[in-house]
């Protein structure tokens, strides 16, 4: 027996040692190659354009580093991969940043606030007009996503709560087809699916994110430790972002058409999606937004919603479990567990032209 098991045991010890070494290399350190994940969405297409047009490379070279923008097909998967340590940064909404990496103990910093949804997310009813008609219906949506949050805010606005409807978890990829099914009477989704469904027969947009402006925020999130160890990464990304923003503000036809094509629509379709997106073309506007009193108030609402739905993790006793830090020393929640930080540092540098 002994002679049989001891080599196996040695092998086991070796394998586990190798695995633990592998795990410890996930710790951040000064390095010069970075990977940032992005997914298709109107507010994130500038990242693809920045990569395609060489703007990212230009800025990365300026700071002596290499940055690779990696497109991931599945939005949630990209955030999960970032949370697991595969990417140094990732694009995501404020709510997902709180509930996925931050609640998972990965200290994250929102470096660039790119835009907020100003109509890109909406509640659609079939053959009904008023939002209050949603009472008692099944509502198809991606559960625990910003759509779910939008529904909760919409119901609040007409004096109802989630108890008045039944939520059916439906994947975003299938929601357009789902609307044609007879079982589906109302749904919540975002663009580009939203505009697709809005155009279908019997569809009425009963509520959208323009009624809660500034609450669904799209941003670039970096791992805090990686960012602190490598300020060059944040500088290069911010520089590249605002160069693209300047081109978009000017209405650069080539930039817009490249973004439209990459997101699977045409210039007209892309422009209509831009209309329901409040892009911060100017770093000054993003800066003003990130330092406003509205941001902590919004994040408090989001945190309370997340806690009520049990997605702040099981250590959470209340909505303040995951602490958040905002510019100008403002903070929310547990000071000993600050995992989500909103930084104005790099947007400030950009607005002052110091990148």
């Amino acid at each position: 027996m002994n002679s049989f098991f001891s080599p196996t045991l040695k092998l086991l010890v070796a394998a586990t040692l190798a695995m633990s070494i592998g795990a410890s290399t996930l710790a951040a350190e000064v390095k010069d190659k970075f990977q940032v994940a992005w997914t298709i969405y109107v507010g994130w297409m500038p990242w693809d354009y920045a990569e395609q047009s060489g703007i990212i490379d230009k800025w990365a070279k300026k700071y002596g580093i290499e940055i690779k923008m990696v497109q991931v097909n599945d939005y949630v998967e990209s955030i999960n991969q970032y949370t697991a340590g595969k990417f140094d940064g990732c694009v995501m909404t404020n709510m997902d940043a709180l509930t996925i990496p931050a609640a998972g103990g990965v200290d994250s910093t929102a470096v660039i606030i790119g835009d907020f949804s100003n109509g890109n997310d909406g509640i659609i009813l079939k053959d009904k007009k008023k939002l209050s008609d949603i009472k008692g219906q099944n509502v198809n949506l991606v559960e625990l996503s910003v759509s779910h949050y939008l529904l909760a805010r919409g119901l609040e606005s007409v004096g109802m709560s989630e108890k008045d409807v039944k939520v059916v978890n439906t994947s975003d990829a299938d929601i357009v087809a789902a609307f044609s099914s007879k079982d589906v009477t109302s749904l919540v989704t975002w663009n580009p699916q939203l505009s697709e469904i809005k155009a279908m027969k019997g569809a009425t947009l009963a509520f959208d994110s323009s009624k809660i402006p500034g609450e669904i925020i799209d941003m670039l999130v970096l791992n805090t430790k990686t960012m602190q160890d490598n300020p060059k990464l944040a500088k290069a990304l911010t520089g590249a972002w605002y160069e693209v923003m300047a081109q978009m503000k000017k209405g650069d036809a080539q930039a817009i058409s490249m973004m439209a094509k990459a997101s699977g629509t045409d210039v007209v379709g892309f422009n209509s999606q831009l209309k329901t997106t409040k892009m911060f073309y100017d770093a000054k506007d993003a800066l003003a937004f990130s330092t406003s009193a509205a941001l902590p108030a919004t994040m408090q609402k989001v945190s309370e919603f997340s806690f009520e739905h049990g997605i702040l993790g099981d250590g959470a006793k209340d909505a303040t479990f995951v602490g958040m830090a905002f510019p100008n020393g403002k903070a929310y929640g547990s000071a000993s567990n600050i995992k989500l930080r909103f930084s104005d540092e790099y947007m400030k540098l950009a607005s002052e032209g110091k990148l």
Binding site: T16, M19, G104, L144, T170, A178, D183, G315
Partner: protein, 272 residues
């Protein structure tokens, strides 16, 4: 003694059989510890005690809102869908495959069609299925049936074709009509083969069940996994995956026992 002639004793075989399981558990524990040391809230590889905790708290405690125990609820609704789907597929498979395998005229007419139809990936035509079957329970069962029936039909058709010609000719010389042949000779011998076929397709049925629950659902094992995947709750996903594996293993085991018990004359190839 040569390696090829060394046979493990009963206890040694047991230890050897458990080894891979133990190895995987140990590797997991070490990897998980390493990640948790770096970040105690790590969600990717939670500790076993954390998984037990989560299951106790969120899956086995009755929900405050509805009073239902989500784990039991999920299991029952998934098993119901799977059960209905598999039974319908099995019956359809049996009914379609016998004439297909036995009667040359039917075979000439439908065999190519069935062969082609079985190649359509159901997941790819989901939008059409939504419109035909809606998004409720029917659609979930239908997805299983559409995915599994062609596999059973093709398997059983071959089994029918394998029947010894002598047996069929002998029965005919004794005056059996086609109908008698089917009822008295083919059908009884096909039943254990059907159970075998069901066992082989159970894995596929699970895949279709989980995918249909991932697309639109309010409860079910697949639903829960895809829901909590949104916030990387591996502490919930891993126990669910282990549970699904266990259920699948159990279903396979019971079907095997059932076949042996009911059809002792049938040579079950993997009686072991």
């Amino acid at each position: 003694m040569r390696l090829i002639n060394q046979k493990p004793s009963h206890s040694k075989a047991l230890v050897l059989g458990l080894m891979p399981f133990l190895l995987i558990v140990l590797m997991y524990v070490f990897a998980s510890n390493a990640r948790l040391q770096e970040n105690e809230d790590d969600k990717l590889l939670p500790s076993f005690s954390h998984m037990v905790d989560t299951m106790e708290k969120s899956a086995l405690t009755p929900s405050k809102r509805s009073g239902e125990v989500i784990f039991i609820n999920d299991t029952l609704s998934s098993l119901k869908r799977l059960g209905i789907g598999v039974v319908i597929s099995a019956l359809l498979g049996l009914i379609i495959s016998i004439p297909l395998g036995l009667i040359p005229l039917v075979r000439a007419g439908f065999s190519p069609f069935i062969a082609a139809f079985s190649m359509v990936p159901p997941i790819a035509i989901l939008p059409i299925l939504f419109i035909i079957f809606g998004m409720g329970e029917v659609a979930k069962v239908a997805l299983i049936v559409i995915g599994v029936t062609p596999l059973i039909v093709r398997d059983l058709q071959h089994r029918v074709e394998e029947f010894s010609k002598e047996q069929l000719i002998k029965a005919q010389t004794l005056g059996a009509s086609t109908w008698t042949l089917v009822i008295r000779i083919i059908l009884p011998q096909m039943l254990p083969r059907l159970l075998d076929s069901v066992r082989l397709t159970l894995g596929t049925a699970w895949i279709f069940l989980i995918s249909s629950e991932a697309i639109a659902a309010t409860e079910g094992l697949g639903y829960r996994i895809f829901l909590v995947r949104r916030y990387l709750a591996m502490d919930m996903i891993l126990p669910y995956v282990i549970w699904i594996t266990l259920l699948a293993f159990l279903a396979d085991f019971l079907l095997k026992k059932f076949t042996c018990k009911l059809f002792p004359w049938y040579e079950n190839k993997d009686k072991a």
